[in-house]
């Protein structure tokens, strides 16, 4: 079976453009969260979000813009960076064994909603002709494949907040078992629209804004946490079989060593520590590591009252005594919950943490919840940490769980 290595990273989020930039902001506990500013005439009162407020780089021709919903654009921006870094952009071989595995939760929400505004609100009787092509969930995967000439398997995973963990994990399995040599994997989400945010707001799972410091509204594992903060992002990793990466002399950043997946099968929204534990156990087993080899976990840690307690419980269940020595942080405190992109951006940060031996903190964690009694790396980054393997957890509405393990390449 093939080993799977990572040769490129890409990210764009409210923290900024570029994987390195995102990592530096996360290390510095600088938050991209602020009051949401919608282009629509109505606003969602008092809502905070991790919104990308800077102009996006212009990577496609104006004539092609109608094909791109914002989630596809974020996807292509992240994918381009990963492909450029890997050097695969210049490759003309193995294109038929190169694929794209992508994740998204709500797909082209912006395009759909603007179509509905035209139809229901503005009294128009038609919607822009490319609305379907732009909003379909597989649009970013198809655009990436088209632009890179990747003629192998191109799949899209839509399982709420684990979408891009499944994309990366299933890509790992695909390469490991010889179905492809190269897969650009990741996810993107852009659902900060009036209708979407209102729908999330109705679920009563969103954090209250901190009126003095809106950037400090997402408080994973804190006794003061009040919910999640929605965000938008795109993130990507270039995955390759070790044999093809070595054949072309690629710089190997790390090894994607393990993936585990499970479903709680107990409730649509209430998390279940047993289900989460099954995903983590499977990831550790497939990686061929012992539990004590894991030095850092980038937690799902969305900042919801029940979710964070369940995750602390599942980590303790899996790691036993080692749980006390593990560093666990949630970077959602700074980049929010980016749903279909969440696992991908957190995996990109985890890879950089492993490479730099620097652990991003759980920002703004002044007072941890006594029910969440792990080392959450509160407030400040830790440098020079001798970690050789790290895990990224993702859990979703619908009960899906996923864990990815990255280790040093040797």
């Amino acid at each position: 079976m093939e080993r799977v290595v990572i040769t490129g990273l890409g990210a764009i989020s409210s923290l900024g453009l570029g994987a390195e930039n995102n990592f530096e902001q996360a290390l510095a506990a600088k938050s991209g969260i602020d009051y949401l500013n919608l282009s629509f005439k109505q606003q969602v009162e008092g809502c905070v979000a991790a919104q990308i407020k800077f102009p996006l780089p212009e990577l496609v021709k104006r004539a092609e813009l109608s094909l791109f919903d914002r989630f596809s654009m974020l996807g292509w921006i992240a994918a381009s960076e990963a492909i450029q870094q890997s050097g695969v952009a210049l490759e003309t071989t193995l294109l038929d064994q190169s694929g794209v595995f992508w994740g998204t939760g709500m797909g082209g929400a912006t395009t759909l909603e603007s179509g509905y505004i035209d139809l229901f609100l503005e009294g128009k009787n038609r919607i822009r002709p490319l609305s379907i092509i732009a909003s379909m969930n597989n649009s970013p995967a198809a655009q990436i494949a088209l632009r890179c000439g990747f003629g192998g398997t191109v799949n899209t995973y839509s399982s709420a907040c684990v979408s891009s963990a499944q994309a990366i994990g299933e890509a790992y399995r695909h390469i490991k078992h010889g179905y492809a040599h190269r897969i650009l994997a990741g996810g993107s989400e852009a659902l900060l629209t009036f209708g979407m945010v209102t729908a999330w707001d109705s679920m009563k799972v969103m954090a209250n804004a901190n009126p003095e410091h809106p950037e400090q509204s997402c408080l994973p594992f804190s006794v003061n946490r009040s919910g999640l903060v929605l965000g938008e992002a795109g993130a990507a990793v270039m995955l390759e079989s070790l044999s093809s990466a070595q054949a072309r002399g690629a710089t190997i950043l790390a090894e994607l060593a393990g993936y585990g997946s499970s479903n709680d099968a107990t409730h649509m929204t209430n998390p279940n520590p047993a289900g989460q534990a099954r995903a983590m156990e499977m990831a550790i087993t497939t990686a061929g590591l012992s539990k004590s080899d894991i030095g850092y976990i980038n937690a799902h840690g969305a900042g919801t009252p029940t979710g964070d307690v369940a995750e602390a419980e599942s980590i303790k269940r899996v790691f036993g005594e080692h749980a006390k020595r593990l560093m666990v942080s949630s970077t959602k405190a700074v980049h929010g919950h980016t749903l279909g992109a969440a696992a991908a951006i957190e995996f990109v940060l985890t890879v950089q943490a492993l490479r730099s031996k620097s652990i991003p903190p759980t920002a703004f964690l002044q007072e941890p919840d006594p029910l969440c009694d792990l080392d959450f790396v509160p407030l400040h980054a830790r440098y020079d940490q001798p970690i050789t393997a790290a895990m990224s957890n993702s859990f979703a509405f619908g009960g899906s769980n996923a864990a990815l393990i990255v280790k040093e390449f040797s």
């Binding site: 021709k61 104006r62 004539a63 109608s66 094909l67 038609r126 822009r128 002709p129 490319l130 092509i133």
Partner: protein
């Protein structure tokens, strides 16, 4: 502005090309306009001329084909 000038202007904007390179007998393909971008162009032209081209799916090969398609509808709406 003639119908041709309006069509050429929107084509140039959409395809990011110099409007002077567009002649009535210029093929859409040579301008880099595929079937999807022509659909979007027609949508914008309907807005521009405040007409509805309906369900007809004409074969559009050169720029003049679009111009004639629009003018046929403009004439119809003038007669109504």
């Amino acid at each position: 502005m003639t119908t041709f000038q309006t069509v050429a202007k929107l084509l140039a904007e959409r395809l990011e090309i110099d409007v002077n390179t567009i002649q009535p007998d210029t093929s859409l393909e040579s301008l880099g306009a595929d079937s999807l971008s022509v659909m979007e162009l027609i949508f914008d032209l309907e807005d521009e001329f405040k007409i509805s081209l309906g369900d007809e799916r004409p074969t559009l090969v050169v720029v003049q084909d679009i111009v004639e398609h629009i003018e046929r509808y403009l004439k119809q709406s003038a007669e109504q």
